[in-house]
Symmetry: D2
Subunit: 308 residues, 4 copies
């Protein structure tokens, strides 16, 4: 495995896909017109044309694809773009603006642009759409914890960790009607990283969606832990990244990771975030798990952990 | 209407309910035991007993109710408590800890506490549970905008605002599979308020859930705008509220609102947050709406708004 | 355990709660009025009054509680009622109709009834509301499968079943953004039962929501399997239950279960449905699990199972 | 517009996309292996190879695409296929079985097939996945109702219908935490059609997901009504379609619609279902709406409608 696939010793991470999205909504005269627009814009050969129009406004952004969702006579056009090392919302908004004007003027005069954002982007709001189809960087990170480490360092057992993860992070969140909240406290870690490194903390709504898995491996001897986070929205340029404190933190976090191509920095940052969440999940579940094992001896008057 | 029911001139807000929650999960031997625990703990007369046990650890927190969710042989006990002017997570955690020890030692020896948080609290994760049953303060805020104001100040029309709100905030978010994200950018406003006033920004995941409604009233002449936010988690004491900058901001925001009873401050703060979100929603939808009306004249090369 | 707590030898089931719901929606002049209506109707002493009004139209139905959800100036009043042995939609609709007229005429003249159903009932549509707060009968059923039985009868192992359940029914459905679909094929069983026994098959949308759990117990030797189904809508009188075939099936399924009190029949039927789903889940997961164990020997040309 | 684009006089419908899906789940050694499998299988040129393997088992089914979702070290491979006039589950299962064996034997020896269905298909369970990305046929149907028709035939007004639809079908379902249930009673209609025409009624869970929209057009004079249903699973061959009653009903419904190419029949049936849902939505909302307008005159003792 190449160096850049590991964010810290022992754990591995991968960027599964990436793309910043923006979804204008347009109104057509009837459902037939709406269906026609969807078919037209999703034809395989169309993307080259749209990309050219999009690229007239930005050097770094590149249109990757467009998905059209029809709801009655309205069409939500979800454009997905690569945005180099920027989080990319502005870059994408600018390009889409131009694309929409071209569509209206040159191809669909009957198209009425209702809003440059029709909430299928979907930005800073909980949704299944980002959970399933991704936004920003989709990242997975995993690590093997040997039984020895679990017992000696974390003071619990692989079996207890695995059981707790199912009961709390999978079943508990399922009973709560959660979409994307199958974790213990990813939001704490994501928010801390975002504040420290000049990201937009209002985007932690979707950036902190995460499923944490803990599985017995090697005949129950060891534990495999992973976090899957489909919607981490980060950049290493633009936004608050130029502020001195953010710059210093970014340099500490990413300093020794090679960044040769556009986007390498943003991808590395997304993987650092996921790796840190992985560590946070292990830490909190171990604390809860060992607490339960020694519950008979618990000092009930001590101040409880603030993070559970 | 009493003074404390308005957060700024012309708009009104109300706290609909309140309660900080914590939900331990326990494992019972079988589904029959689990069902029995649920029935026992939800019996009407039980709350007085539980409240007494709970109150041995805290002077301000008061246990209000407990809902038991059975999933197989596991039971998630969602305790809801009033917490005075504190956001209240620690206060509640401490009291629940004591309650769980009492349950295990004095009533259900077969009960095994798996975790002090079983993810039905549910803290810092998207969920339908908080959206439907609330957490922290549930607040509604509304205002009438006359047609004159919409046209002269916002440069659009009541009908255009109402249509945009349905197409974007209701239908768009519905198509995106959102639970609680029926708004334009509540998260921006909540995050800003939380950072300024010493709240926990990791809680904006659920604190920013919001449905924005814009309806024609008075025969289509005027517009009624509201935001409903069931899960605003705030406090005026504890956490980061004691830091000088936070203190100054809290004083500016709440200084002239009477706070005679415990909880008055936290409730006022929740209403300030909702009122500010209301203003933010009006502002952004007006910008999008007027943009669409004058799209023919739009300068397509200008830097687009960063907030849509 | 009493006889009526077991639906078939070895397995146990319990009705956790029950109540048929109907939720009219009303529009109030402002959010302040809406908040006031919520507070008024949820005051503890109010239920006795509402119950009396409700009971003027029905002998069997009994109003149990009302939850008011505010969305802007609209209020959704979710009435929950016990309905004896009937599924109860009509009975409840009739009573609520009277309650709404009373509210409007005698207490809130400014209240405008928009619809007798405001979709928070919520009938025949997927929702987190029924999943979390229940509708009809909420039932749990569980059984211990010894390792011997799993190996000899089901041709697989407890560990393989447990792992498959987590990977497919918990994680798979979580990744699919499911609310309440944490099972393999509950809908097949519910639909079959409903068609055979004169129930409304259009209600299987929510009646088949189910979480299936399979856990290793007794040091990994045995398997505990459960299904939790919060929203089974059934009755033994009314609807199609009087048709000859339905009557015959109901008699076979419930014939030997004592039905002394009103509602005993409907509760027993709900438990029969849950018990049958439990059997169906075990059967399909065993088939999938053993298939995987012997995948090397699989005849790839045989007709695949139709039910997975 | 071509004949086959209208299902009844005045209304229009369109099939937006189609594809029957099946999603096996496999376990890889680590997250890195899982990410590699995703990248390999989603490479643009791969689909031709997979299609060839798939086609060795079926003459009618054609593999269209595959989406790989990584959750830790597990990968859910959602294959989407065209299936001619069959609903297609068996056809697809058979082909996927062969594809999975090929992947394991010839490309990824470390791949362990956990289950031929990993619940991301997702069959007979509520989910955002089918709502957003579709399954079976995705259909939209719409119709213009003139103000005259609304007043004289439906006994209400366009404005009242539009307002009711927002308050009930959009906001009500949003408050209930629904994904895909933004309608009044699509499940009633879908279930009736499925039972009459030999379809699988257990699939109405996802087949009846639907968003109903009612909008004022022509300066508020008229009403545009539409239903959007992304997941209608139907076929005109196989399953129960050969039973005499089903055959007769299919012939009545589809008899005069040209079916020249494979799939024409199934597509027409999907559009008939959507068109019938459209009619059912108009009917029920008109009944509720006119009821509200004349509520003062309502006879409160009459038997309420069974369908609201």
């Amino acid at each position: 495995m190449k160096y850049c696939n590991t964010v810290f010793s022992g754990a591995s991470s991968e960027v599964l896909s990436e793309g910043m999205t923006r979804a204008p909504v347009v109104t057509m005269p009837t459902v037939v017109h709406a269906a026609h627009l969807k078919k037209w814009i999703e034809e395989p050969q169309r993307i080259d044309y749209l990309r050219e129009v999009f690229s007239s406004t930005t050097r770094f952004g590149k249109l990757q694809k467009v998905d059209a969702t029809v709801a009655g006579r309205h069409v939500y056009l979800r454009f997905s773009c690569s945005t180099g090392d920027a989080m990319g919302m502005n870059m994408v908004g600018k390009g889409i603006n131009t694309v929409m004007a071209d569509l209206q003027q040159n191809h669909f005069p009957e198209l009425r642009l209702v809003s440059l954002s029709g909430n299928m982007c979907i930005d800073k709001k909980p949704s299944a759409l980002n959970w399933i189809n991704g936004r920003g960087k989709s990242v997975v990170a995993g690590v093997t914890l040997t039984g020895d480490v679990v017992r000696k360092v974390l003071k619990t057992t692989p079996a207890a960790m695995a059981e707790l993860n199912v009961t709390k992070n999978l079943v508990g969140s399922a009973m709560a009607g959660s979409i994307g909240g199958f974790n213990a406290h990813a939001s704490n870690v994501v928010t801390a990283c975002f504040l420290a490194m000049g990201q937009d903390p209002a985007q932690n709504v979707e950036s902190s969606t995460c499923i944490t898995q803990m599985e017995l491996i090697n005949n129950g001897e060891d534990l495999y832990v992973s976090v899957t986070m489909p919607s981490i929205e980060v950049g290493t340029i633009g936004g608050g990244t130029g502020l001195p404190a953010a710059k210093a933190c970014l340099s500490m976090a990413l300093g020794n990771i090679p960044q040769e191509n556009p986007g390498d920095g943003a991808r590395a940052l997304a993987r650092v975030v996921a790796g840190t969440v992985l560590a946070g999940e292990i830490s909190l579940l171990a604390a809860l798990s060992s607490g339960h094992l020694i519950s008979a001896h618990m000092d009930l008057n001590r101040k409880p952990s603030t993070t559970i």
